[in-house]
Symmetry: D2
Subunit: 278 residues, 4 copies
């Protein structure tokens, strides 16, 4: 408590910004109670992320699994709005931080929220199981809420572009491996696989687990709440956003637009007209 507590105004101001994350005095920085110099070089970057978000250090195996999920979603190419925005922004005369911010900002409910929604669904099913429902029944009930008439979208499954998203089976295998090693429980992997089977049965065709569903499995196994899933995705995709902003900035484009410079856009509004008599 740094305030001069004899000055109630200062104490009130300092309390307004209270936190459990970081403590500082001149020459001293502690994160969650650990002196920062004792952390640097001793815990991995994913372990630092975990400590900052959760308050306690993970085991090395937990940190590695987190790092694998973070590494899996770094990029999906310039057709993704976030990546395209990073590249265009990098040609507009702003710092690389601002190019990244414009891009990160669009990782919203549609572009960045599927993992959060998938983990929320997995969590509902897990809660049903905690209350005594069998996996198959809990999955069926969860699907019923998402696909009441057999159609509808289940977050974490299916991909517009990839018949099978190559990241998903690999991540699921890592989750299974971690479960076998006792690092995680394995329940979210079970739920995801049961969902995949049940969706295929309902749809009559495979709608496989995608990257959002697969990272949700891992984040859920590791105990992260759904809302943090989007935050973790931001940390992950920021890497691709930076890489693309950087690559673009090494070229000499100015005000890069979405289409080749000599193209325009189709205009479909009203034809030429005069101002009403005034």
């Amino acid at each position: 408590m740094s305030a001069d507590r004899a000055d109630p105004g200062r104490a009130r101001g300092e309390d307004w910004w209270s936190t459990e994350i970081i403590e500082m005095r001149p020459g001293m920085i502690r994160l969650r109670g650990y002196p920062i110099e004792s952390l640097i070089g001793r815990v991995s970057f994913p372990a630092m992320i975990w400590l900052m978000l959760r308050g306690e250090l993970p085991s090395a195996a937990q940190a590695d699994l987190l790092g694998a999920a973070l590494g899996a979603a770094v990029d999906h190419g310039p057709q993704a709005p976030s990546i395209a925005i990073a590249r265009m922004a990098a040609t507009c005369g702003v710092g690389i931080n601002s190019a990244m911010a414009s891009a990160i900002n669009v990782l919203g409910d549609v572009h960045g929220g599927a993992g959060e929604q998938a983990l929320a669904l997995f969590g509902e099913i897990a809660a049903d199981m905690d209350a005594g429902t069998a996996l198959a029944h809990a999955v069926a009930a969860g699907l019923e809420r998402r696909m009441p008439d057999g159609s509808g979208y289940v977050p974490g499954f299916g991909h517009r572009f990839h018949p099978v998203d190559p990241r998903a089976p690999r991540l699921l295998a890592l989750a299974r491996e971690a479960a076998r090693a006792g690092v995680v429980g394995g329940r979210f992997a079970d739920i995801a696989e049961a969902l995949e089977g049940a969706i295929a049965a309902r749809k009559g065709k495979p709608i496989p687990l995608n990257i959002d569903g697969a990272t949700a499995v891992i984040y859920g196994e590791l105990g992260f709440p759904p809302a943090l899933t989007r935050g973790l995705f931001v940390l992950s995709r920021s890497v691709g956003i930076l890489a693309h902003a950087w690559e673009q900035s090494q070229q000499d484009a100015r005000n890069k637009g979405p289409l080749p410079r000599e193209w325009l856009w189709s205009y479909r509004g009203p034809g030429p007209r005069d101002l009403p008599g005034r």
Copy 2:
């Protein structure tokens, strides 16, 4: 002064955020000293913008001229990165304010800074004239600094796309009209025209005044400093950014990318390879 000055901490905290712009007490809001209810409906929106930025109210004619310049630069179509970003962001599941923020954020030195740079140049020339240099000589000296070897870019002149930007002559005519009516002095219009002539003589072809140069003339005539020119451009372009974000949001696109959905991008990196032995 609202703080209980007997509490030095509170007073220090409140002083930390002191401003000359707005005063508030419960039931009272004053902008630059004017009760807000006396401003609403009595001064135009451009006059409010002026009051907020400059501290005093403009004349009606000054406010109209400011409004004309603000209205001129609202849009330049979806090939502009700012507009494209607004449209893509609107499909990503963020609020319309966030779609606008991602777009406004890229109005940087390259995409939004030409007006500021043009007005800085005009101001250098005006300062030379204040020191007794004739217009033609001051213009020549200013150009010499920008085009030492006859080539180079002069901010506010020339356009990649428009042989003549249709907004520029119209804005210049408004500035001339305002000068004839005594609303402004007319010096920045003189400087811009002299620059246009001198650039054409140096280049051997016309490089006409563009929208950035023309709005810089008006903002300069009205007494705005160069750095505010970019801020005014943001207010102006925000209108087009909002219009495009809104139009896009009325359609059903999800995660709109820069190219048609069935297209990819060209990959030019290394061919397929295996991880080094590990």
Copy 3:
């Protein structure tokens, strides 16, 4: 249609970015069909905003009423997160556009969405009236949905700080005046006043119309849909955001924090600890 339609790829690319807002060819810019040089200096800035968002020009009286609402919400002081963020950002070494973007970005559901929610409520009540329900009954039904047990929050009414928000009665008076002059219909003003009365009766104390409710009345009278209300608020508050960013940038602060520089924050996390044995 600018594409060389003999090149199907180019046509497909140009159609991907089609719009009804702006048409361009070299030397030609048309907004909603009007040549831009015919608009500049002939229609006010609020009329340009209207044209861009709605597709048609407003009457002068409609544009003035829009301008009054836009002018009313420009600022609410540095305690508002948007304004504080603009000021802090201005000290961090980013362009004024980026300082504005960081601030505009937080005008979300809580900070910028009350007007949208208020107009949605007004619209529900208006729709009930269209279906034959009397004003008082439609208002009661609307309130019942928002305050089922007599408590709850009604968007557009009440203010944490102002017993009566001085902007609201002034804006409502302007709406009434415009209704008397036949500029608008007056129905949303009726609905807002009826709501105010009914809320007071339920709560046993006045919970007066606030700035969000009052601007929603005007935007609704003028025919804007609820979702655009937030966009209009962004245009309005951007003025205050720019003014504060500008004022701050004229001072010499670097990395301005929320509290006086010599203060810290209260730390409430775990006490000092050693890394677990590793």
Copy 4:
């Protein structure tokens, strides 16, 4: 190359977005040539960051050193504008990605650029040494450019708050250790220490290496160019930004301002006044 090269428009559009970073086909994702499923779980998160930015995989020791630097700068508490903005934004009704974007956006030249500037200085000195100048002379010349009259600011040294920044000596020790192990060359550590000594001699008091200087040493040793230093800082600080946004969002604040809710700000503008007669 995915385009139907018989369609020149499509090929032109796809080339407009060409990249060396990522290749995709349905069911296939390769980063820098490596199938993504071969990377996931086999390379650490810092190694993925390196691969994306540099095009080649680092050694495990290089990746660990990068991770240590990334972990060191994750947070500096709520007095930093970036952290304060993240917390305020989290109370305004925007997604966690948007809260992060508003914060990341302010890591500009002043708040996020010192590492870049420090590495640029180290690089100038290294280039002098490559040209045959001895370390001490190259350092003296570099300082002369930054502190021509013995005063002035040298990026990477000194701290407003910490007499000695506890992160810097720890990072420098890691760089030394890596140099002894042959992972890096050690030259930037030499330069930083020589600068520290020379600054102290000029100033007559110690101005020790700070976090920006220490991370610049490591990023320089690892071969990153100065401009990427800011991008790496963004990746690092994003962790603290997320942690604070998340902590704040778990509380129930709405529109959190910079000061306690019952405080205002000091107003220092003109006193109350009437509109000029109109």
